[in-house]
Amino acid sequence: METLQIVWFALLAALLAAFMVCGGFDFGAGMLLCRMRPERREKAMAEIAPFWDGNQVWLVTAGGALFAAFPKAYSEILSNMYLPTVLFLAFLIFRAVSIEFFLASGGGTWRSFWARVCAVSSFASMFLFGMALGAVFGGEALCASKGDFGVLGHMVDAVPLAAGTLAVLFCLAHGSVFLALRENTFDTESFRTVRALLTLLSAAYLLYAVLFITCGRSYWIPKHIAGGVLLSAYLPLTAAMRLSRKKMSGLVFFMTSLFAFLCICAHALALFPYIAAPHESSAGISIYAASSSETTLKIMLCVALAGVPLAVAYFAYAHYVFSKRVVRGKLKGYSDIKS
């Protein structure tokens, strides 16, 4: 019985990591749009257009999995973080439609407008998402009192703000790496952006690690293990810096993905066995108190074992299709979207 809950806790962390790795690059590329020249912007948009939708499904799946496996956590976290969730969803709507609206018409003003909407909403939704994860981790998520708009106030705290900032900076770096990978021109300018953003991310990460080790708590797993995993995330980050100097964009992308994975792992380890950490005014929600029945967890495990590999296979196929050099003549995809 207990094993199933631990497996589902790990699976949830894996789904979140998958969302950060897959969704992270299109959120980041979306944020970068506002500082790009028009022709670069079109290319960037064409790169994320086939993927953003599928990437976002990782988030939907994580939400569905939380609902099915830990209904009590799902209902308490979301109802307590009412306004942040609503704002997050509102920005997420704009982000999703801005990509399709951008591509819908070729006019310069139209495109800069929707590129800006995409950048702002990508930034705001990712910042709120990071903040929400931070609030769940730090325990601020559950200390709202009814109807006083209070949760927004509670969330303006060190851990949520730092987590939101780290999430945004990670997406920026990861998105720029993805764009450099796809351009495949070894363009010096795009690698300069990559390095600048990686430096920024490293600085933010080091500050965050200090915060994590000094103020963060852990419950079941000793804190030095979680802290050690978080510190080990520095290795892929430095490796990414080195590799980006050699312009090996594929490996850089792998390293930033690994960085996100290790960060999520560190938080999951520190939080275990809680889904939402305890706080002064609440006892927190542990995986044992919140979980579904054994039957449901088993059914859902079968679903995950069959469905997630299938999903990964779809993504592998899609990335394979779009990494192909264009067969006939020049890249017709680009000229096509300008129409």
Binding site: P50, F51, D53, G54, Q56, V57, L59, V60, T61, G63, G64, F67, A68, A69, P71, K72, Y74, S75, E76, I77, L78, S79, N80, Y82, L83, T85, V86, L87, L89, A90, L92, I93, V97, E100, F101, S105, K146, G147, F149, S292, S293, T295, T296, I299, M300, V303, A304, G307, L310, A311, Y314, F315, Y317, A318, V321, K324, V326, L331, G333, S339
Partner: protein, 485 residues
């Protein structure tokens, strides 16, 4: 009460707005598959152009559907946490399965299909479109499975953990937890397939999918109609219009079958809802069906034009059969589970609080049925024109009238979907899970009325902007249809 009312308004608004898009995208996905199959088999380039053109429209509609749908997934938690906690063990799994098996398939292959024309072979591209369409239909399977659990729950038991002693025990089958018990009771799955394929699920699935096909078919028909009427020199407009017409006719025939069988299942599983649809208060044989009318809920009567015996005939197959009226529903046996030992007299006073808003259900049900009838007649008109050879005769006034109407006819299946959805969900009231959990007991206790009002305003304005721009973008794309694709 205020929180409940606002939460219901918010859910109705967001779900209603979301439900504008998926029926079109499900129907259009199948239409695009048909067009691409026509391209593969006939080799005519015009079908390739058509598939490409419709995929672009599909992408905008799909994006709006995804963006508004994700709100719903989280709204169960933000506004209905008591409900989520109560049924999460049962209701969460179809939602998660929908994401894992349907959304990934649909989204990823839409990306390949929409942007991969130059990067895939013909067969690979057809396969991607087919997978996208399959994903769209699978998502309908699971979301309707989840919704049908709310209508006709099965495959679960209620597990009560006594807050005083901590002892966990199963409640007797068919029992209704009291408001005090709700926070420590949850529904636990006992048989997955029994839950997923509950009594009303197959009928409701086929009914919704045939409605979606109609939405897709009429959308395509309307778009082709505009091109034909404007004399656009687009090679695919005529063959695609005929394909859409055939698709519409077949779906509307299927609609007759699925609509009827849904009503029969409804009569068997949710008699209160059927009685509310028909404003049927008093139990009688030869129950009448009102063609139209107005329900006076005070005097419990309907003023309108009726056909005697028709309700008995449609619901139970013979005009002599007895149809129970609202004054005997819900049954005394059921109500005594909630009010043990209540006398027949006192049950009479209790019953009205277990009725759905009767006139609203009555009218929305009629809007759906008449929109369906109009759809059927319109498709028949198209077929007659086709058979008489006048359908593309631009000099014939009747042909021009048909294509002119086709542009606006795409609203009909959408109106039918909205009205049918409203009837199905409002007719379920006051229950959120039929005969188990009341809507008023399921609403949030964490958020305040002001927060919910604010979020409703945020969502309404965001949705208004999204709808306006999406319509503009779709119209622009249609207007700028090109031959050289």
């Amino acid at each position: 009460m205020e929180v409940e009312f606002l939460s219901r308004i918010q859910f109705a608004l967001t779900a209603g707005f979301h439900f504008l898009f998926p029926p079109i995208s499900i129907g259009l996905a199948l239409y695009i598959v048909i067009v691409e199959a026509a391209w593969l088999f006939s080799g005519r380039e015009c079908f390739r152009c058509a598939a490409k053109f419709f995929l672009k429209l599909f992408a905008v509609i799909f994006a709006a559907g995804v963006a508004t749908g994700i709100v719903l997934e989280f709204e169960f938690g933000t506004n209905w946490p008591v409900y989520s906690n109560f049924v999460g063990d049962v209701f969460g799994s179809p939602l998660a399965i929908e994401a894992v098996f349907a959304f990934f398939m649909e989204s990823v292959f839409l990306g390949v299909s929409l942007w991969g024309w130059e990067k895939t072979g013909r067969k690979a591209h057809f396969f991607a479109t087919l997978a996208m369409c399959a994903g769209a239909h699978l998502s309908a399977v699971w979301i309707i499975s989840a919704n049908s659990f709310m209508q006709t729950p099965s495959g679960f038991e209620l597990e009560f953990s006594d807050p005083a002693t901590g002892a966990v025990r199963a409640l007797a089958e068919g029992s209704v937890p009291s408001p005090e018990q709700i926070s420590s009771t949850r529904a636990v799955i006992t048989d997955f397939w029994d839950m997923a394929l509950s009594a009303s699920m197959p009928d409701r699935f086929f009914h919704t999918v045939s409605a979606s096909w109609l939405c897709g078919a009429f959308f395509a028909l309307g778009v082709c109609g505009w091109m034909i009427l404007r004399g656009k020199r687009v090679s695919f407009s005529r063959p695609c219009a005929l394909l859409a017409l055939c698709y519409a006719v077949l779906s509307s025939l299927l609609m007759l079958v699925t609509g009827h069988s849904s009503a029969k299942t409804l009569a068997a599983t949710q008699p209160e809802k059927l009685a509310a649809f028909e404003g049927h208060y008093r139990t009688c044989d030869k129950a009448p069906l009102y063609l139209f009318g107005w329900v006076d809920e005070g005097s419990r009567s309907v003023a309108g034009v009726k056909v005697d015996g028709f309700l008995s005939l449609l619901a139970f197959g013979s005009s002599g059969k007895v149809v129970e009226g609202l004054e005997d529903l819900p049954s005394g046996e059921f109500l005594r589970k909630i009010y043990p030992g209540a006398s027949d007299e006192s049950l009479k006073d209790i019953r009205p609080s277990y009725w759905a808003p009767v006139n609203f259900s009555f009218q929305t049900f009629r809007v759906m049925v008449y929109a369906g009838a109009a759809i059927f007649l319109f498709s028949a008109w198209g077929i007659c024109l086709w058979l008489s050879g006048k359908i593309f005769d631009s000099k014939a006034a009747v042909s021009r009238a048909f294509w002119f109407c086709s542009m606006f006819s795409m609203a009909m299946p959408m109106i039918a979907c909205q009205a049918g959805w409203a009837a199905a969900e409002v007719g379920r009231q006051p229950w959120i899970v039929w005969h188990i959990l009341k809507t008023s007991d399921a609403v949030t206790t964490a958020a305040g009325a002001m927060e919910i009002l604010l979020s409703t305003l945020i969502f309404s304005s965001v949705f208004a902007v999204v709808a306006a721009v999406a319509i503009f973008v779709v119209l622009e794309k249609i207007r700028r249809v090109r031959e050289d694709c």
